[in-house]
Symmetry: C2
Subunit: 114 residues, 2 copies
Amino acid sequence: MATDPLSLTFAALADPTRRAILARLAQGQTSVGELAAPHQMSLAAVSKHIKVLETAGLIAREKDAQYRYCKLQAGPLKDLDGWMDAYRGLWRDNLDQLDAYLADMQRGDDTGKQ
Amino acid sequence: MATDPLSLTFAALADPTRRAILARLAQGQTSVGELAAPHQMSLAAVSKHIKVLETAGLIAREKDAQYRYCKLQAGPLKDLDGWMDAYRGLWRDNLDQLDAYLADMQRGDDTGKQ
DNA sequence: AATTTATTCAACCAATTGGTTGACAATTGG
DNA sequence: CCAATTGTCAACCAATTGGTTGAATAAATT
């Protein structure tokens, strides 16, 4: 796998379990055990997922007694949002094309397709 | 790998070569050969990358003579943008916290950290 | 018809992923 | 001190990834 920050972020998010963990953390920080509870896999497996998120910079850990509290870090998400900036205009255009196409269809005019 | 649409999209984007291909396609449609040219790997390798993007729905192919023209499809990017909606408020908050922290530091006031 | 151009397919390879289990470490509470 | 709780680490496994090369397909050109 590529190790540049953006690739790490995308790769970390390419898993439903990890996205669920992130969604949970969006509500506030929690321990690894609580994060693992909803998932039907071993604690070790969730621990690995959390490490992937941490490596991507998407979460940070804070140690308190025998607990490791995880909290979401927005930085990489913000970078991802920045990456998307280059494409946002594009799907607006796409929709415009679709609108034009549909309008043509309703008019029974097919010159719009060329 | 998970096969749900969002996971496919994130996974497809978790590679610099594939993001470069997408960036190129944002300028307009091109053949596989032209997409491959800037990359120092075999054409077959690029062809595979393109298939990954296609499977994720990020590009579509149109056949013309012996060429396959690829064009960007914005749908999955739009979905990704929608997924981000749940997190955008969050990094605004994070930045606010950072601002508050930095302001405290400058004032020599550390009560803001608790 | 034969050749060139453009692309994919198939087989292969090393490295990585996502899961398992069992052992280990750290901390708390009886 | 001892036991329970919380989490990580290490070894292992099957499946997937990202690359290679060489053969196959399809259309254009000569």
